[in-house]
């Protein structure tokens, strides 16, 4: 009973806690747009992952969509594949439904998984607050996936060509050089996650 009380007391803190750089990233088991479930553990040979919380409807996510496709094209062969996760409640945002995710991925030619997190549990476990938001994970010697960078892809959402800080690309270059990402955290304008009703 006491344990339960403690858990209830800690719950709000746990829900709000953002994964910090250096923390081990929690795995998940989420349905992909092909109907199959997927976990990070399914791909044990990567150097890491570019996990991105994104969605169909958010204008900022749309502005970054092509850049997410390009990140996968550039880095999946280098050991850092993209894993996209949609944390929005489709009841609140019908554009973000499973069927619409399938349509969008097909139209735009996604080369990476696009997973359904309709309860938002995975986004909460990562402490994600907005779309789009990147969590760059690096595998350590023990095989654990450690958060190396979190934030934006670059510093210009409206215009890719005007961006002069390419955070994810530079972070991966640093990791491959045995260095830490710098910066390892950025904030950016985005859309609040449309959480399933509390």
């Amino acid at each position: 009973m006491r344990k339960l009380t403690l858990l209830v007391a800690l719950l709000p803190l746990m829900l709000n806690a953002q994964l910090a750089v250096g923390d081990e990233a929690p795995d998940f088991d989420l349905m992909n747009i092909d109907g199959e479930n997927m976990s990070l553990a399914d791909m044990p040979d990567t150097e890491g992952f570019i996990v991105v919380f994104t969605c169909n409807h958010c204008p900022v996510a749309k502005l970054y969509e092509q850049r997410i496709i390009e990140l996968d094209a550039a880095f999946s062969d280098q050991g850092y594949p993209v894993v996209a996760i949609n944390p929005n409640d489709p009841v609140r945002k019908p554009q973000d439904s499973y069927e619409n995710m399938q349509t969008r991925a097909e139209e735009k030619g996604y080369t990476f998984p696009y997973l359904v997190d309709a309860t938002g549990e995975t986004a909460k476990a990562y402490g994600a607050t907005r779309t789009p938001e990147i969590y760059l994970l690096q595998r350590n010697e023990d095989g654990q996936l450690i958060l190396a960078y979190t934030g934006a892809i670059d510093n210009n959402s409206a215009d890719a060509t005007a961006a002069d800080e390419h955070y994810v690309t530079e972070a991966i270059a640093n990791l491959k050089d045995g260095k830490a990402a710098d910066p390892d955290f950025t904030r950016a304008i985005g859309c609040t996650i449309k959480w399933a009703s509390r």
Partner: protein, 171 residues
């Protein structure tokens, strides 16, 4: 003999359409366009009399647009009519904001930020240290209180905003 040649009618049409356009523009609400640096200068100044409620929004943001009427209703309420409401737009282009304001008349002051660019470690935490950049966000500035109180997502309805405000406003 025709009273008006096609050319004259054409010219009059152009004039009429032109006048209509001018009226439409004149009808649209005024807003100030500020750079982030200019805005921060105002934002960081402590309000010396009535508190200021800042809401960061964009016409492309569904939950933001949904809650705009809640802020507008504050002007009609006796308890909150003294409160200054500033709606800071993070639209990508000024003409998007303009056409939104043509369709939706707002009483609150509107500011358009001209040079925000997405990720920025300088100005986003200056607005509020807990802000990740997700909009909407609402921040209340008061003369004495430190730090400013913020609501990091949308209000559910008018009452939700009023309850939050009455908790946040100092006696």
């Amino acid at each position: 003999m025709r009273l008006f040649s096609a050319r004259v009618i054409g010219q009059r049409l152009i004039l009429a359409i032109g006048l209509l356009c001018i009226c439409a523009v004149a009808d649209a609400q005024d807003f100030r366009s500020l750079t982030v640096a200019e805005f921060l200068e105002e934002y960081q100044e402590k309000p010396n009399d009535s508190p200021i409620l800042y809401n960061f929004w964009a016409s492309w943001c569904g939950p933001c647009v949904k809650e705009l009427p809640y802020f507008e209703s504050l002007h009609e309420n006796e308890d909150t009519e003294e409160l200054k409401v500033v709606l800071v737009s993070l639209d990508f282009a000024e003409n998007r904001l303009l056409s939104f304001l043509e369709r939706n008349q707002l009483v609150s002051e509107v500011i358009f930020l001209t040079d925000w660019s997405g990720a920025d470690e300088e100005w986003i935490p200056t607005i509020h240290p807990d802000w990740s950049g997700a909009i909407p966000i609402t921040v209340l500035h008061q003369a004495t209180e430190e730090p400013a109180k913020a609501k990091l997502d949308a209000f559910d309805d008018e009452n939700d905003l009023k309850t939050w405000l009455s908790d946040a406003l100092e006696e």
